[in-house]
Symmetry: C2
Subunit: 489 residues, 2 copies
């Protein structure tokens, strides 16, 4: 066996064990009896130990030093494995272990603190998580920017300064759009009671409509919807609030975007680093374009309006147009995950600035609450009434996921580019979507982007699909056109 | 850390990864989308590789050479780890890998051959599996009996000669009982349609009645019922045939026996070799006593009769006595798993003799079909009409599980002993069971046996619980008394 073959064989086993870890995570959130939580923690820690040992295996270093890749996908795979190895050996094993352990218990402490609206109960843990991630970032950055080193785990090659510059360009137009929309008369919301069984039936229907392969996936309920796994086993979850069917429907469509991406990747890449979505931002572009540019578009809303009436009977909303306005309703609110297309990215910009300051050391965890509340008042014009609606709202920081938030907006930006290119290539797309025929759209995404998995870098993946380098412009134009129409601005 | 502490820390991780493997197996049979089968095979093979490496880790050998255990459970744990290590290092890695690979594909080939009633399609595979297991047994036996070496995987310390002697003592009385029962008028069977939802509701009720802890377990559907896992996560599965509710009910109660055993083990033993049922025979004693001595007893049938009427309304059986006779109906049939308490052990004796001859070399796989059919005609008085009702009926041999079958009868024998001792200690037990109160019975089993897990050897576990050394006599007396009454012999 050549060194390259040794590396790929080693990687194959590591990838297989990584899939096991994803399946354990899925089970934990969907099927696991509640009393098994501690035991599951021990199981996952043992498996994480195995994975860490494989990823930092000195033999891998020896093989990498001499390996020669064939041209094509093999070269890219080798590059990704080499990057991952270089990253992992920079972090001392005891620091990696400590981080895993602290962030695992931190999530429980955060959940209790949020439930009790008690910042003080979370502060010592948050302080420790930040300190550990800064220590890790220092190992990784080798004198460079700490936050950039952390972004690299989620969005390789992205730099904080570039993201900040892009956010600065987006901000004024989003603020102006938000102000105009909130000044206009609010559309009538959907009201009523929508039984769980009907919502789940519609959820399943959405999966069929978006071409989800049920022989390689399934839908279950979870508290927080997520997608999990790839290759031939990519599952999604959704949730049901009986007074708000859009929660279930659009959670489902969002997760379908993630899962269909994974299932569409060239099977030849399975068990290699190319067999996954290339970055969090590109992954989010798929969930967002399914959810927003397709799922919340006027054409698809026409189809969905009919589906809703068939499932639940007459609603308070009598026309597809009113239905579409309700689906896209912009409302004041404190919670990022509940916000709309207009305001979502403003939430992210705030999260980004605050966490960047936490990692650089310009902001301490002790001052985070007041910094959050000041900024929220400035950006959104309302005072945060309690920390569960403020700095305690997201799980990410307790899980140590600093550097993750900006990938959400990057996903939206990429979705904006893909939507513009797709509509350029498919001028009659809305005729199909209005009939619930997503095949031209999902086929375009599969062929142009999804099947390539991790073959190319994130920006290159988008550029190859669109035929132009990604910028924020298409997203902003899309949002301005859409909400100008919906709110008759 | 002392060598003993090193060993226990190493074992803890191995046990945790073993639990992960059980969870993957559960998912495969209950939740996994069908298209994920190959991928799951690769995942399990990767994890099996990790487990095998841990179990044969040379460091383990070095620690074992010098380790000193404290008195008590630690000494037993050390002994079990030492035995497992000694066993595993005797088998060359390439043989272990070959066996894992061949038996994994053999199960699919067997299933197809059974579906097609095609012995020839299975023979080459069966021949290979037997050859590999004989090769493995030769590594393990060091000149001793090959079949004994294989039994040791399932029932440590049991010897084929002792089992054969016990079976020879049991045989005449079982044959006589079978003849008398089949000569007597057959009871009226239960007939009708019993919808799945009602059967699953009763299944859940049975779990409650037997004290199953739903915070540490769950019930799902599977093609072949099984229980899976231990510690704080032990799940069961059941199946539904809408014309035969006893299939679902008694599958559930059987698996509850296995699962309640695991959940009752002293939590201090979790993640050690003491944290499992001690042997297949003792495990089966728990499933059998729940299913048969308790669940199919006249007293519990009284309770169940009421539950069935409450769930399904009037039945063709009008009295608890008729219901109990239908539950315990003895019928001619070819399939071991569908047979009754009277004939079950006769099936096992035949399986045992045939597989012992296959492993010793006295019987070749080519001659197995005629040997099976001759023996079945002699033992059961009817000719096997096709191999799916004969030598192709069980998955075990394709999975390489030679030496497993006798543990089923050993389980019945142990259940007979436990039942006698339990009724000696709890003279009013039936009054409780007739009301659906199993607490005295399950409490007795938990306290006397289940909580000890693997603390003692199998026979010792039964003797400590019963106060006498296990023999086949109590089982035979129980069966003769029960069926003499039910069939008015």
């Amino acid at each position: 066996m050549t060194a390259f073959d040794q590396i790929m064989a080693h990687q194959r086993q590591t990838e297989a064990l990584g899939k096991v870890m994803e399946r354990l995570g899925w089970d934990q959130e969907t099927m696991m009896p509640e009393g098994a939580a501690d035991q599951r923690g021990a199981e996952m820690a043992a498996l994480e130990g195995v994975l860490h040992a494989r990823r930092t295996d000195p033999r891998l270093g020896e093989w990498l030093a001499v390996a020669q890749a064939p041209d094509g996908p093999g070269a890219r795979a080798l590059d990704l494995i080499a990057r991952s190895y270089a990253r992992n050996v920079k972090v001392p094993a005891d620091l990696a272990q400590k981080l895993a352990q602290v962030t695992s218990t931190a999530q429980g402490i955060w959940a209790a603190a949020r439930a009790a609206d008690d910042v003080a109960a979370f502060l010592p843990t948050l302080t420790e998580v930040i300190a550990l991630r800064r220590e890790e970032a220092a190992c990784l950055a080798a004198g460079g920017d700490l936050y950039d080193a952390l972004i690299d785990d989620y969005e390789p090659d992205s730099k904080a300064a570039d993201l900040a510059a892009m956010f600065a360009r987006m901000r004024p137009r989003l603020v102006a759009l938000r102000a105009a929309v909130l000044d206009a008369p609010a559309p009538e919301p959907l009201t009523g009671h929508f039984p769980q069984a009907g919502q789940l039936a519609l959820s399943r229907k959405m999966a069929e409509v978006f071409g989800y392969d049920f022989t390689r996936g399934r839908i279950d309920l979870a508290v927080h919807p997520f997608s999990s796994g790839g290759g031939d086993d990519s599952r999604i979850t959704t949730r049901v609030a009986e007074n708000d069917p859009f929660n279930c429907l659009y959670s489902t469509i969002h997760e379908l975007g993630h899962s269909c991406y994974e299932l569409a990747i060239d099977p030849a890449y399975n068990f290699t680093p190319l067999g996954h979505g290339v970055s969090m931002g590109v992954h989010e572009s798929q969930s967002r374009i399914y959810e927003n540019q397709i799922g919340r578009g006027a054409a698809f809303c026409e189809f969905l309006f009919g589906q809703m009436r068939a499932q639940f009977g007459e609603m308070n909303l009598k026309t597809a147009r009113d239905f579409s306005r309700a689906v896209n309703r912009v409302h004041a609110g404190f919670i990022r995950t509940e916000s709309d297309e207009v305001q979502y990215n403003l939430h992210i910009m705030m999260h980004f600035d605050l966490e960047r300051a936490l990692i650089s050391g310009d902001l301490t965890s002790r001052d985070l609450e007041s910094a959050w509340n000041d900024r929220f008042l400035r950006d959104f014009g309302v005072a945060v009434p309690r920390p569960s609606l403020g700095m305690l709202q997201d799980v990410h920081w307790s899980a140590g996921l600093f550097g993750y938030f900006p990938t959400y907006t990057l996903g939206n930006v990429y979705a904006g580019c893909l939507n513009a290119a797709m509509r350029r290539d498919l001028p009659n797309l809305d005729d199909h979507l209005a009939r619930g025929d997503t095949a031209p759209a999902t086929g375009w995404l599969r062929g142009k982007l999804q099947r390539h998995g991790g073959l190319r870098g994130a920006a290159d993946t988008i550029e190859q699909a669109c035929g132009f380098a990604p910028t924020e412009a298409p997203l902003l134009e899309y949002l301005e056109a859409k909400f100008t129409d919906l709110y008759a601005l």
